[in-house]
C-alpha cells in the first residue's frame, strides 16, 4: 500500500498507468481496475479516480458513479485495523446489531468512518460465510466468532 500525499506523485501515476495498461486501458474492465487500484492505495481518493479516468478516456463522473454505487469501493482511508461487523441474517438473529451499536459507541464513530487517530475504521458487511460462528466481528484479518456485547472492550484492547 503506498502512502498517499495530497497530489499524486509520478510513481503513483505510473502505478495507475500500469494497472490500466494491464487491462488494455479497456473501460469495460473498470471494476477490476478499481479493485487493483484500491488494493494499491488503500482507497480511491479524487486524484486517483481522475487519473484512472484519464487513462481509460472516460468521464470522471462515470467513475465516481461506479465508485459510489459499489460498497466495496471507498473514498476514505481505512483505519490501521479495519473492523467489520457481519450483519448477515444469521448474525443478525444471533445478535449482531447490539454489537455494532456498542462498537459505534465505544469508538465514537459511525459505520464507514475512521477514528481520528487512524487506528480503527468501522464497517458492516453481509455474510462472510462463517454463519456457524455467528455473530461475527472481523478485525483486520482476524475473525472473532460468537461475540457478545461485553467482549468488545476486550477485543479492542488487543490492538491498543
Amino acid at each position: 500500500m503506498c502512502a498517499l500525499k495530497e497530489a499524486l506523485s509520478p510513481v503513483n501515476i505510473k502505478t495507475i498507468k500500469d494497472i490500466c495498461q494491464s487491462y488494455n486501458n479497456n473501460a469495460g474492465n473498470l471494476i477490476n481496475i478499481l479493485h487493483r487500484v484500491q488494493e494499491e492505495f488503500g482507497y480511491l481518493p479524487i486524484e486517483v479516480q481522475e487519473a484512472v479516468a484519464r487513462e481509460l478516456s472516460i468521464s470522471v463522473a462515470k467513475i465516481y458513479g461506479v465508485v459510489s454505487f459499489y460498497t466495496f469501493f471507498t473514498m476514505k482511508p481505512k483505519g490501521k485495523y479495519p473492523i467489520s461487523v457481519c450483519l448477515g441474517t444469521a448474525c443478525y438473529v444471533r445478535g449482531s446489531e447490539p454489537i455494532l451499536e456498542e462498537l459505534k459507541k465505544t469508538l465514537a464513530i459511525n459505520v464507514g468512518e475512521t477514528t481520528p487517530d487512524g487506528f480503527f475504521s468501522l464497517d458492516s458487511l453481509r455474510c462472510v460465510g462463517a454463519c456457524g460462528l455467528a455473530p461475527v466481528v472481523i478485525v483486520g484479518e482476524k475473525v472473532y466468532g460468537r461475540v457478545e456485547v461485553h467482549d468488545i472492550g476486550k477485543i479492542l484492547s488487543e490492538y491498543k
Binding site: I46, Q49, S59, V60, A61, I63, Y64, G65, S68, F69
Partner: protein
C-alpha cells in the same frame, strides 16, 4: 414491414412489428402517462430506462405489470391501460415519487411547465400517505453561471444523464450513489462549474421537473429597465423568433419576429436590435478567415490549419477548450454573434449615441444557456464591464412578457431599430444546424469566385441528420464541408479529423441537437421532436422571405466597415471581433 394485431382497452390495433405498447396505444388515442420516457425521433435521441414505472399496463398472461414504454407489442397481446389494478399501481407509484419531492410548487421555476405536476393533476393526487414520517433525499444546491441544480427535485428519470453522455458526450453528469440517495450529479458532487460541463443546457431542456433550471436574469433586467441613467439595448438571436410563439399557445413553427420586436419595445428597451446583424458581421469575419486559410492552402502553405471550425456556439467552444486542447488553433477566431454585437454596440453604437460605455446595458435574448456563461468570460470585458451585460433565455423573455400583461398574440408586427437591426436571410439561418456554413458559403463563393451566385439555397447543407457533409464547387475548386450538431456528433467528427479520416475545408458545429432552435433556453419541447422540426422549417421560411439573403449585401454591414472597422480582419476588427481560446482540460477542480 410485418404487422401485428393486439387489443388495447378492448380495441383492436394493428401496428408494425417493433412498436411498443405505449406507441400502439397512442395510435388509438390512448395516452398512457409517462415520466422518464422521452423520444426525440427526428434527432435519434431516446431515453427509456424503464425506471419511473408510471406507464405500467396490465398484459394478460403476465404476472406483473409491464412498462408500456419498453414493452414491445406481440401478436394477440391483450393490454389494459386503465384497469383498477393499473390505476392503483400508477397512483401509488406516483405518490411514492411525490413523497420524495419537495412540495414548493408555488415558487418553483418549473411550475406550470412541470411534467411531474401535470401527472399529479392528471392522476388526481390529493395527499401523500405517511408524509409525516417520510424522509426526503436532500442534496446540496448548486448554482453555476448558466444552470441551477436543485436535486431534491430529481426523480431519476435519467434524461439529463442521457443528454450529457450519450448525446453530448460531455460526461459532466452521471448517476451517483445508489438506492434512496441515487441521483444524477457531477463527479464527487462538485458544482457544475468545476465539471466538464459546457452549459449547453440540454439537461435543462429535457428535465421533467424543477431539478435543472436556468439561472434567471429577469430581475436584473427589470432593474436595468427601471434605471433612467441606463440606455438598455437588446439583441435577439435568430432561433428565438421561431419558438417564442409556442409560449403563447401559437403553433410550433410560427414566426413571431415582428411581435417580438413590438413586445420588447413595450417592455421598455431603448433600442431593439437583432443579433442577426451581428451574424452577418460574423460571416464577414469568419468567411474572410476561411478564404484566407483556403487561399494559403491552395498556394501550398503546409502550416495552414484546415478545416476551419465555426466558433459561434459557446457550448461548443467550452467543449473543445476542455476536450481538444491540442486543437485550439483550428477553430475560427471570430467571436460569436452575441459577443460581436456587444462589442460593436459598446464601441460603435455608444459612441454614435453619445452614451458612456458604463451607462449602456446590452441584453441578449438567446435560445441558449451557454450564452449566460459566455457573456461573463473575462476576455469579453473591458475593465470589468462586459460587452454583453447579461443574457436571458427565450423562456425568460416569455415570462417577462406574460408578467407585463402584454397580449402577445394580438401585438402588431414591428421592425427592429437601426443601425444594428438590419439583417439578411443568411443571418436568420444561423438558428438551424448547417445555417452558419450555408451563410458563409453564400458570401465566400461570391468573394472567392468574384461571380454572382445563381442560387442561394444550398439544400445539401440542410437537414437534421447528426453528421452531414457536402462538396461545393467554387467555380472549379471543390470545397468540402462538414456539419455536426450535438456535441457527440462533433466529437465523432473531431476524432475523425485527428485520425486524418477527412479532408474538410470547413466544418460547422452546433452543440445542441438541431442547432440553436433546439437550444437549452428554448420553450420546453417535452419530448416532442415535431416541435423542433417545425422550428427548423420556420427558420428557412424566414430566410426565403428576406429581400437580401447574403451577408455581404447587408447595407448596414457595408456601412459599418466603411465608417468604423475598415475591412474584415483589419486590426480594429481583430481587436473587437476576434478572440482566442484557452486550455481548460486541467483546470476543472475544486
Amino acid at each position: 414491414m410485418e404487422k401485428i394485431k393486439l387489443t388495447i382497452d378492448k380495441r383492436t390495433v394493428e401496428v408494425e412489428k417493433g412498436t411498443t405498447v405505449y406507441q400502439a396505444a397512442k395510435q388509438i388515442g390512448v395516452n398512457i402517462p409517462v415520466l422518464c420516457y422521452m423520444n426525440l425521433g427526428h434527432l435519434g435521441i431516446e431515453n427509456r430506462p424503464g425506471g419511473c414505472r408510471v406507464c405500467v399496463v396490465e398484459v394478460e398472461g403476465r404476472k406483473n405489470l409491464a412498462p408500456s414504454c419498453s414493452t414491445l407489442c406481440t401478436e394477440g397481446m391483450v393490454v389494459k391501460t386503465n384497469s383498477p389494478r393499473v390505476l392503483n399501481a400508477r397512483k401509488t407509484v406516483l405518490e411514492l415519487i411525490l413523497s420524495d419531492h419537495p412540495k414548493d410548487c408555488l415558487v418553483c421555476a418549473k411550475s406550470g411547465n412541470c411534467e411531474l405536476q401535470e401527472l399529479a393533476i392528471k392522476l388526481g393526487i390529493r395527499e401523500i400517505p405517511g408524509e409525516k414520517y417520510s424522509e426526503m433525499s436532500t442534496y446540496r444546491p448548486d448554482t453555476s453561471p448558466s444552470i441551477i441544480r436543485d436535486l431534491d427535485k430529481c426523480v431519476m428519470c435519467r434524461r439529463c444523464e442521457t443528454m450529457c453522455n450519450k448525446v453530448q458526450t460531455v460526461g459532466a453528469l452521471n448517476a451517483i450513489n445508489r438506492g434512496f440517495m441515487a441521483v444524477v450529479a457531477p463527479a464527487f458532487e462538485r458544482n457544475l462549474e468545476n465539471s466538464p460541463c459546457t452549459f449547453c443546457g440540454q439537461c435543462v431542456a429535457v428535465c421533467p421537473t424543477g431539478a435543472l433550471t436556468e439561472v434567471n436574469h429577469t430581475n436584473q433586467l427589470i432593474r436595468a429597465l427601471a434605471d433612467p441613467t441606463k440606455t438598455v439595448v437588446v439583441q435577439t438571436a435568430p432561433a428565438v423568433r421561431a419558438a417564442l410563439g409556442e409560449e403563447f399557445g401559437m403553433e410550433p413553427g410560427t414566426l413571431v419576429t415582428g411581435k417580438m420586436a413590438a413586445a420588447l419595445r413595450t417592455l421598455g428597451f431603448d433600442y431593439v436590435f437583432d443579433t442577426d446583424f451581428a451574424a452577418d458581421l460574423t460571416i464577414m469575419e469568419e468567411g474572410t478567415e476561411l478564404l484566407n486559410r483556403i487561399g494559403k492552402f491552395l498556394e501550398g502553405d503546409k502550416d495552414v490549419k484546415l478545416p476551419i471550425l465555426t466558433s459561434c456556439c459557446p457550448a461548443w467552444v467550452n467543449f473543445f477548450e476542455c476536450n481538444y486542447p491540442d486543437m485550439l488553433d483550428v477553430p475560427s477566431t471570430a467571436r460569436s454573434p452575441q459577443q460581436m454585437f456587444g462589442s460593436v454596440a459598446k464601441a460603435y453604437l455608444a459612441d454614435k449615441l453619445g452614451v458612456k460605455r458604463e451607462d449602456m446595458v446590452v441584453v441578449s435574448i438567446m435560445p441558449c444557456l451557454a450564452k449566460k456563461y459566455e457573456c461573463q468570460r473575462d476576455e469579453f470585458k473591458i475593465d470589468g464591464n462586459p460587452d454583453v451585460d447579461f443574457s436571458i433565455s427565450t423562456r425568460e423573455l416569455a415570462a417577462l412578457i406574460k408578467g407585463a400583461n402584454i397580449s402577445f398574440t394580438s401585438l402588431p408586427d414591428e421592425d427592429f431599430d437601426n443601425p444594428l437591426g438590419e439583417s439578411t436571410g443568411a443571418a436568420v439561418i444561423f438558428g438551424a444546424t448547417g445555417g452558419v456554413i450555408e451563410a458563409a458559403v453564400r458570401t465566400a463563393y461570391e468573394v472567392f469566385t468574384k461571380k454572382k451566385l445563381d442560387r442561394v439555397d444550398f439544400t445539401e447543407l440542410r437537414g437534421l441528420e447528426g453528421i452531414r457533409s457536402a462538396s461545393i464547387d467554387f467555380n472549379g475548386t471543390t470545397i468540402n464541408i462538414g456539419i455536426a450538431h450535438g456535441l457527440g456528433n462533433a466529437r465523432k467528427l473531431l476524432d475523425g479529423i485527428r485520425a486524418g479520416m477527412y479532408n474538410f475545408h470547413a466544418i460547422e458545429i452546433m452543440a445542441c441537437p438541431g442547432g440553436c432552435i433546439g437550444g437549452g433556453g428554448q420553450p420546453y419541447h417535452h419530448g416532442n421532436s415535431e416541435i423542433i422540426k417545425a422550428r427548423h422549417q420556420a427558420i428557412y421560411r424566414e430566410d426565403a422571405e428576406k429581400p437580401i439573403r447574403k451577408s455581404h449585401e447587408n447595407p448596414y454591414i457595408v456601412k459599418l466597415y466603411e465608417e468604423f472597422l475598415g475591412s474584415p480582419m483589419s486590426e480594429k476588427a481583430h481587436h473587437l471581433l476576434h478572440t482566442h481560446y484557452f486550455d481548460k482540460s486541467k483546470q476543472k477542480q475544486d
